[in-house]
Subunit: 125 residues, 6 copies
Amino acid sequence: MPVILVVEDQALLQSFVADALHDGGFEAVVASSGEDAVTLLKAHNGQYRALVTDIDLKGKMDGWKVAQHAREIQPEFPIVYMSGAAAADWTSKGVPDSVMLSKPFAPAQLLTALANLLNNATPTA
Amino acid sequence: MPVILVVEDQALLQSFVADALHDGGFEAVVASSGEDAVTLLKAHNGQYRALVTDIDLKGKMDGWKVAQHAREIQPEFPIVYMSGAAAADWTSKGVPDSVMLSKPFAPAQLLTALANLLNNATPTA
Amino acid sequence: MPVILVVEDQALLQSFVADALHDGGFEAVVASSGEDAVTLLKAHNGQYRALVTDIDLKGKMDGWKVAQHAREIQPEFPIVYMSGAAAADWTSKGVPDSVMLSKPFAPAQLLTALANLLNNATPTA
Amino acid sequence: MPVILVVEDQALLQSFVADALHDGGFEAVVASSGEDAVTLLKAHNGQYRALVTDIDLKGKMDGWKVAQHAREIQPEFPIVYMSGAAAADWTSKGVPDSVMLSKPFAPAQLLTALANLLNNATPTA
Amino acid sequence: MPVILVVEDQALLQSFVADALHDGGFEAVVASSGEDAVTLLKAHNGQYRALVTDIDLKGKMDGWKVAQHAREIQPEFPIVYMSGAAAADWTSKGVPDSVMLSKPFAPAQLLTALANLLNNATPTA
Amino acid sequence: MPVILVVEDQALLQSFVADALHDGGFEAVVASSGEDAVTLLKAHNGQYRALVTDIDLKGKMDGWKVAQHAREIQPEFPIVYMSGAAAADWTSKGVPDSVMLSKPFAPAQLLTALANLLNNATPTA
């Protein structure tokens, strides 16, 4: 199963996203802070197929920063942001070829966003 | 859950569409005529995230007209049409950036169509 | 239910793909060789809405050839390839407007790929 | 040279559009009313590769109607609209897969719009 | 003529870009620093239809920052970046729905990039 | 100036394409057979930014084969085909993410096709 790195600090949303991913056939690894996510990305580069991140996070690093780090590590890394109030900042703070899911969103929106990003990525042997 | 306005006058298709939406994590509000749909759109503008409409409807207003009204109320409103015989008229009677689902279609096609339209919409705070 | 022609010679993958399609509301007809698939496409042209094919197949005809035959029979036929090692050859051996799913992939990726190809196809009465 | 049917009733804009098309390597046939345009499309179906139409026209038929007629005659006909005040109505009155050029626009915008529509069209022998 | 704001501090590239824009029917206003560009965008919001910016600029503000400011002022503002060495940073530092032109690029690439961004923008009356 | 490799064996079309490219700011290197084109691609890999090829060529290698070779050498190489009678074969014989220009086409169509392919390519430092 393709593994997706999820960055979310609220237990309720962690379950919502992990369940949605599982129903679509993905495996979710959940990091509860941006700092943890970047550590995982650096340590296990190549293990994760995409990043799904909330914007507002407990630590010093918000979701915009996590995504930038992910793209510096792997320039074409698929990125999906989730946010309520911060969704309107996506056009100035998001990275190219990413998707912003405005809360509330349906699990089908998350799965379609991920699938489109993964299916458009260049296949490599 | 994001709420989708469904316009369909046949009970069997109402269930098919409502079940598909529910499985994808959407809530469905079903109007059984185009006139009812436009009344709901005018009364609760902002409550619905997208319109899913059949073309042939019992009243005087067909699905093409419902979609035009919806776009006059909200210029970028996501629209999905469903039809059998009338699907071929989409290129002359549909609105820009809409999707036509030719019957028979699978629930996954409806969910992907909706998710793509919602995910591409400009996020607003 | 829309019928999808699946070309796969391994029992495990046949089940994986057929289950995924069924969960999305599609019906799967499985051919276990490229030769069988082409025979079915020629005999029942118009019955299948899309082709999902593995690349490495037991017979003399690989998935690249099956897809080319399908497009010669019906020029806009929706094509989804599945492969591991051969995924990197898609840019030189695939047909235009097709999708390559790199193994391992999630069922949601297959459903989104198919739905996008079917939803973008020109509707015909 | 590919021939483009232009519908425009103002001499100044007729020249502007015809010059832009000519510079891009297209031939322009100019109709000064929607009625004339539809007559030409019916009489010489297959001769024109695309329609470029203003919205406000002198006769009873506006640009929205001309485009609908063109699509009824040829379902995938490439359409480019040009307008000032009426541009905002495109999302409710335009046809799918068309382009609206908001005045004032540059010749490069017209040429790119036409080229994209023609290049994406299915090639036929 | 649609007016494009160009941010470039080298005289040779200023001419190259201004000439290309002029040939495509655009008017170019050239700012020679990021700070000047932001001042112009704030003072004359609505006058410019798009931003074309180099990445390496003389002042403290590079092209990435200029684009972010432009998007904060107008959330859907069309952005085209031009760069040599910094082009590879676009996937982590660029804004969504922007275009990066890798030097050397042809005038036709600049015109097509701008035209696509302008033609896809929502028309407003 | 970005250099484009053109494969064309008719003098008249060589001039037409070379002039169009030059007007758009590209430099054209013309090979008069598919065999010559592949030799140039192998010898000077990285010098050419895109391939523009006719389908019917004098030697044993047609344009379909040249494009496949180009993609084997460089997996994402931008490809534009030009053809009259063979244009309808593009959906079965073309490579993914390529463009088919049906003759007769306008120079603006060639420039837009190339610019779109080059602008969408991943920038590399």
